[in-house]
Symmetry: C2
Subunit: 292 residues, 2 copies
């Protein structure tokens, strides 16, 4: 059966000066239909985690060249930015997300205007709900946070595990059943949460530790928390701490315009994709400098 | 005389799971040679600070459309990513930095391969050492951290202030005189620090609060520290704190290859620049969706 390893853990930490945005990055391994061993990543994190990603791969005896597939739960900045590290990988994502990323709404601060330029640096395979990636690893469409958010359902020895991306950022969302950060559609986001809860034995959220829901709806984390902060101390003057599970629900201003604008840009997407120059070349890790 | 305001403060905070990388973003205002009022940004921060940047502009009675110039101290991910927010701005940077950003070294984790695609989204004005941007605001070349790092020297009423970018990340570097994070040239980086210290009355570092050096080499901060962390508490199990000023000196593996590779790519830069599609259009703030 396929296996899931946490390459980089997700953290439910914010600040009032900026988002550290440490999303989970997951290693999924298993044989494909022809029996060949496959090494997949789910999500890639942002540039500020780049050296940590290299180290985590090395700790698993891997280099970036060993990754044959990068599944993108969605194209937000904190999940997508390191995809260029994997020149031997195919990028797997939902066509709605791909198309949206080329012309995001101006109020969508998590999807900069240049996201499409980054996305097209790898060969892309578009996938939809229910599609199998390798045996025991399939796509679940979880729109709402973004138009083409997807999760990855993995049939593991411990049960059916769903890697959710930001369809379910934090474990507490399994209790509140509302997505606190919506850029596309709140109701769709709530249905996506329900769907994850209905199908999953274990949940790997976007920005929290993996967990099971207990019989009475409690959260049973499968990993422990570990983080070292450098450059401040608990008693640092001016430093304050606030409770995380009290996050207000936020829906992007202008969200009602999203569907119409998105439909309007449909004809254009092939042209946009074809215009993107490739700057990622093969064999770029280690001493081998940039080419392309 | 021109004025400096801190739009977003810089923070000297790291973690063992990723870099929050909150660099300072500065508002510099003053009349140009023709007497017209000008509104400049120095650096733009990364996407995780995007909504905070909007709020900070609004707190100064500004919108992104009011920014006519964005000066980039260097093209690292945490300084460059929000430049596409400023469709009415000219991007000002050093030609060495512009060229490097299109073909960064594979070990340069702070400059992803796609940086050039982002950089060319605004009209670019290349500047060199000593060049005036507006009266009382000039460029100082500070290579070492990166090939084309620059600072901005501002003649303010409080004295000559230098906005240093990562030529001087943290106030303690004014004492150690060594850059702890070098991607290009350690010796050049040390000379750049010395130069900043020689010319400046006040220093606005890349990732710390502005300060003056006292007569006996002490650090006199001009602003106080303020930060709220959400999602953890001082007594959170698994949370640890470490001292910031004990950062080891790090020089990028492969740094000795940098100059030769960079020279090799000189002929190519015009072609690379011309291939970049523009995805940033005018009037993109607020309800106006993406075009281009």
């Amino acid at each position: 059966m396929p296996t899931i390893d946490i390459l980089l853990p997700g953290f439910a930490i914010d600040t009032d000066q900026g988002y550290p945005a440490f999303c989970g990055v997951f290693l999924v391994r298993g044989p494909d239909a022809a029996g060949r061993p496959r090494t997949l990543l789910v999500d890639a994190a942002h540039v500020g985690r780049r050296p940590f990603l290299w180290d985590a791969l090395a700790a698993h005896g891997l280099t970036a060249d060993d990754i044959d597939t990068v599944v993108l739960t969605h194209a937000h900045w904190d999940h997508v930015q390191n995809i260029d590290l994997f020149p031997h990988a195919t990028l797997v994502l939902h066509p709605d997300e791909r198309r949206y990323a080329h012309t995001p709404h101006a109020n969508d601060w998590a999807t900069p205007s240049w996201t499409g330029l980054l996305l097209e640096q790898l060969p892309v395979r578009e996938v939809s709900d229910g599609e199998e990636i390798i045996p025991g690893v399939s796509v679940i469409a979880l729109p709402g946070h973004s138009p083409g958010s997807i999760g990855v359902v993995v049939e593991t020895e411990a049960g059916r595990a769903t890697i959710t991306g930001d369809a379910l950022h934090f474990a507490y969302v399994a209790r509140t059943r509302r997505n606190p950060l919506v850029f596309w559609d709140s109701d769709a986001a709530a249905r996506s949460i329900d769907r994850v809860l209905a199908v999953s034995d274990l949940i790997y959220p976007g920005h929290d530790r993996p967990f099971r829901l207990t019989a009475n709806g409690g959260i049973d984390y499968l990993e422990s928390f570990a983080l070292t902060l450098t450059g401040l101390r608990p008693d640092t003057q001016g430093l304050a701490f606030a409770d995380g599970s009290a996050r207000p629900l936020w829906v992007m201003p202008g969200v009602e315009e999203q569907r119409a604008l998105y439909a309007k840009n449909a004809d254009d997407i092939e042209r946009r994709i074809s215009r993107v120059p490739r700057v990622v070349g093969p064999a770029r890790q280690g001493a081998e400098p940039g080419s392309g």
